[in-house]
């Protein structure tokens, strides 16, 4: 397995990785922290639905659709998206929400429909961790 970021729990990542492997019929070595889901793993959008279902079942969570994009739609009272494109505050917010994506890939003017192209395997790991933390805080 390629090196994981220091703050990542290897056991939890392995469980996330397994969900991808089962949904996409891939071997674990093909599913790395930084793998782009659509381009590198060759997933189609329906595969994302399958991955989400498997993660929900494996971790007993519910992943809201469009959660990341929705969180960046408004930033401190300013629009994060205008005419389907990210504004500067929207891009900054998304960079914060998706630290696993190289920051230069998230920029002002990026079309909102292109955001799923940025998703890495690590994106879903971070979503799982965030939802688990929210659950234990309740």
């Amino acid at each position: 397995m390629a090196k994981l970021p220091a703050n990542v729990d290897p056991a939890l990542f392995e469980k996330v990785q397994r969900c991808f492997c089962e949904a996409l019929e891939l071997e674990p070595y093909e599913v790395q922290w930084g793998s782009r889901i659509l381009a590198d793993l060759d997933a189609e959008s329906l595969d994302l639905l399958d991955v989400v279902f498997r993660l929900e079942q494996a971790f007993a969570i519910q992943i809201p659709r469009g959660g990341l994009e929705n969180q960046a739609k408004e930033v401190d009272g300013e629009p994060g998206e205008v005419d389907g494109k990210l504004t500067a505050p929207g891009a900054r917010r998304l960079q914060e929400l998706m630290p696993e994506v190289p920051p230069d890939e998230i920029f002002e003017g990026l079309k909102a429909v292109q955001i799923p192209e940025l998703f890495r395997v690590g994106t879903f790991y971070n979503i799982v961790v965030a939802l688990q933390e929210a659950q234990s805080a309740e």
């Binding site: 659509l38 959008s45 519910q62 659709r65």
Partner: protein, 341 residues
């Protein structure tokens, strides 16, 4: 059309699980189920899952008696709450089983949500089919019919990453057609090489292809004005491949999975006829995804077909069964942005 079909003493039975395609469709489903909250677009629980229609498809292999079982949620709701979708779908499958269905087909989003058909097979052990094989075979044959009418030319397949798109591209290549697919990454390029297809950018695909097969799993993926004059689009996608708008002059659109059946014996009960109309079935035709469980039941092939890929052998076997049953690919006009199934 063939002559009257001799009715068998005990017809083969199949189930077909569906969900409403539009809010209006959902309200009608509510009337059918006597679930009045659905009439006001209100919530509906598992008690709203139930039989919507019975229909009999006449075929040359005998009549196939179908039980259409509906869940109350729209496609978007199924995707939003997949665990709920799983539970409702399993209930629907059990209802079909109780009616004697020997094979059960999955309509539209029910084939893709909640772990796809595979999960339903694991949960129930029932012979479930996604209908992908019949859909792919029909699209290939309809593309060939279109070529016989409009002349030869390269075929671009949209949605090559999906099970149906992959099978359609392979089927057309095997019939000697020049096939182009959209280059979207290394795995697509590798698969295209295996099948002898050309992987190109979308612009080149649209500029080069005389025929387009729309097999994207989510739509719409193209604006109508992106098509050049002379293009023939064979559309399988739901929602349709083209976003709403006028079809450019010189562009032809055909439905990608319509099959005609021998018009002979009893067709439907009242609700069967209503369901066919709401689902967008034209006179004398059914869609391939409905036909697949019917012919599998007729042939006694009571086995699941739910994989992420569909093999050429299975596609060809299904095509042979559809032919034997007298269900023939039909070149029928498609409807831009209003296509329903």
């Amino acid at each position: 059309m063939a002559g009257p079909v001799a009715a068998h003493a005990a017809p083969s039975r199949f189930g077909f699980l569906v969900h409403p395609l539009t809010p209006l469709h959902r309200r009608v489903t509510g009337v059918r189920r006597g679930h009045w909250a659905m009439l006001r677009d209100g919530p509906a629980g598992i008690e709203a899952v139930g039989l919507l229609a019975r229909l009999v498809i006449p075929t040359l292999m005998g009549p196939a008696e179908g039980f259409i079982v509906g869940v109350p949620d729209l496609g978007a709701q199924l995707a939003e709450g997949q665990e709920r979708a799983r539970v409702h779908r399993e209930r629907a499958a059990r209802i079909a089983e109780a009616h004697g269905a020997q094979v059960i087909g999955l309509g539209n989003a029910l084939a893709v949500v909640a772990g796809r058909g595979q999960r339903l097979v694991e949960d129930t052990g029932l012979p479930i089919t996604t209908g992908h094989a019949a859909t792919a075979w029909s699209a290939v044959e309809i593309t060939q019919l279109a070529a016989a009418r409009h002349g030869a030319g390269p075929v671009g397949v949209l949605g090559f990453k999906g099970a149906v798109g992959d099978a359609v591209a392979e089927g057309l290549a095997r019939r000697g057609r020049q096939v182009l697919v959209e280059d979207s990454g290394p795995r697509v390029r590798r698969r295209a090489r295996e099948l002898g297809l050309q992987a190109v950018g979308q612009e080149e695909l649209l500029a080069t292809s005389r025929y387009l097969v729309g097999a994207s799993t989510t739509g719409p993926s193209l604006a109508p004005e992106a098509l050049r004059s002379g293009t023939v689009l064979i559309d399988l996608s739901l929602p349709p491949t083209l976003s709403p708008g006028r079809l450019p002059r010189g562009v032809r659109l055909y439905a990608g999975e319509t099959l005609s059946y021998p018009e002979t014996i009893d067709t439907t009960d009242l609700w069967g006829a209503a369901w066919l109309a709401f689902a967008g079935y034209g006179k004398g035709v059914i869609y391939a995804c409905l036909a697949e469980p019917a012919v599998l039941a007729l042939a006694g092939l009571h086995e699941p077909r739910v994989g992420r890929r569909v093999s050429t052998a299975v596609v060809e076997q299904t095509g042979a069964l559809l032919t034997q049953a007298g269900l023939r690919p039909a070149l029928r006009p498609g409807r831009p942005a209003r296509q329903t199934r």
